[in-house]
Symmetry: C2
Subunit: 328 residues, 2 copies
């Protein structure tokens, strides 16, 4: 093509991409050959010249979890506006897969990366730093790294949820946290619960603090363990809605009424929360907003515009039907 | 690089990709320069030579719908095994976006395409045919086209669901279908219901046949309309679980007991079906299996192996708690 027109490849590229001015005469010569040969610049050849693939890599742990599918929806709503497309990597929370995809991101020379969940191990972090493309991490705070993050304040939101239960007269409050290997849903949400209990001088019965594993089934099992304790809580704060639905189902299956016998507070405000009966009182934590915010931060980086080091997505309580006031 | 080694680009490519034998002497020369220059073949340059990108394009209408996120999970479980990665296109059911992504698939020279939902309009079909890469369509039958499809037999599955209600003594059976613009969930599932009613000589009260719009809310509204009829059905077949949960919620909110007062049969067997209380009796229609089957058919095409023109994913009834036998 460049040979036919007797111009350099760079000139062809400039004309086709309109990237830099080209003498009108050269420009015409190139366009004429394009017409005559039916030459179609393909995206791959073009990206070799422009160093731009207009592809964003997104890594999530689990696509069947509605939280992450809505996160992707939020990312897509922004990037598709700007004609970026998405390279989706599902890690299944397997460290080897995470590393494989990070390397693939690097190899495919994508324009930016959004990571929703990752094990922060040395190999991963090193590869993350080597990729040298704009990067945003969601759902984690990363003190000590220069990587921009988008997250809800999990400690504060869990504090608010627990404090609400306390304001309704509850004193014996249980907590089902996320798994502790996931700091945001594990440590942080349990931490907010503990902080609220301490701030109100309430004792924590350690048999009431149980670690779940994200699934509804694990919430079901965690509630079973709590109910096997000698004393029974009047309320339970559950670190994710999916686990909270498991809690509601355990209580329903065992004839324990919600909220008359026990109050339940969730976290996330998934669609599920309003589909359950009774409808779940919960913390609004919108994955679509995370996705949007992360994509906006990423595009800003790509355009060399200033970026917030830690963006916080706002949260609020959604009061529905699963928490009752305790009359003393 | 090829210049430094004084060999052709094709030779470099052969050595780096191990694609064809190269004289040992040339091979060594290339590898030496690779070492000296730190040359890293990147995926883009490599794909220009090998004509292979190892990327599969996947188009879905809606990522926040669990059905499609599990479909993607099924696709990913197969292609990631073979080191393919996924380019995800979310069409939002917007015709313009569908066309845009089809063109992008073509431009990015991806190795294959799986389409889960598309408007079968002329522009789309023409572009589909122009892409000229292996293609599989899921969730649609395409009589009259040579495109391989993966689908459940929607008519038969809906027939079976309705016939089960009839076998339990129900005669006044309502049907909430998917939207009619979506033939598989609209026409086909409603068609199976009508066929079963006719086969058992049961009259269809047209006020009992209502078109839903996939969402739980639309199921809720459809059930409201059915309950406003002068007579009440004893059972309702709902074409998707999400709408069926809307039906359950309408009945719960209006003090109508399930299954004592009315029986409810869903379709899909989403996780939601076992999370609802009472647990939903439904048709098992596994999107993960669709995804797996579609990916397998696609990889077979890519390897030039024979492909089934229409693959059928098996279905079966899952009997839980929302259908009761009617005593006469």
């Amino acid at each position: 093509m460049a040979q036919l027109a007797n111009v350099s490849i760079a000139t062809v590229s400039r004309v086709l991409n309109n990237s830099k001015p080209v003498r009108p005469e050269l420009r015409e010569r190139v366009l004429k050959i394009v017409q005559e040969t039916g030459f179609q610049p393909n995206a791959i050849a073009r990206s070799l010249v422009s160093k731009e693939t207009r592809i964003i890599g997104v890594m999530i742990p689990d696509i069947s979890n509605n939280f992450y599918s809505n996160l992707i929806y939020g990312i897509d709503s922004v990037i598709s506006e700007y004609d970026y497309s998405m390279f989706l990597a599902i890690s299944d929370e397997v460290v080897d897969k995470e590393l494989k995809y990070l390397r693939l991101f690097k190899e495919k020379q994508i324009d930016g990366v959004i990571i929703a969940s990752i094990h922060f191990l040395e190999g991963n972090i090193q590869t993350l730093q080597e990729i040298q493309v704009p990067l945003v991490v969601t759902g984690h705070d990363l003190p000590g790294y220069q990587i921009p993050t988008v997250n809800v304040n999990n400690v504060q939101a869990s504090y608010d949820a627990t404090a609400y239960l306390i304001s309704q007269g509850h004193r014996k409050i249980a907590c089902i946290s996320g798994p502790l290997w996931d700091p945001p849903c594990g440590l942080d949400r349990m931490g907010g619960y503990r902080k609220a209990m301490r701030a109100h001088d309430l004792p924590i019965h350690e048999g009431f603090v149980v670690e779940g594993e994200f699934t509804a089934k694990s919430g079901y099992e965690a509630m079973r363990r709590i109910c096997e304790e000698k004393i029974r809580p009047t309320a339970v704060f559950v670190a994710t809605d999916l686990m909270a639905v498991g809690v509601l189902n355990y209580l329903y299956d065992h004839g324990i009424r919600v909220p008359e016998d026990i109050s339940v507070m969730g976290f996330d405000n998934l669609e599920l929360a309003s589909l359950s009966r009774p409808m779940l009182t919960t913390v609004h934590n919108d994955p679509f907003m995370y996705g949007k915010a992360a994509a906006e931060q990423l595009l800003r980086q790509i355009r060399n515009e200033p970026v917030e080091r830690m963006s916080s997505v706002p949260h609020h309580l959604v009061i529905r039907q699963t928490v009752s006031a305790l009359l003393e």
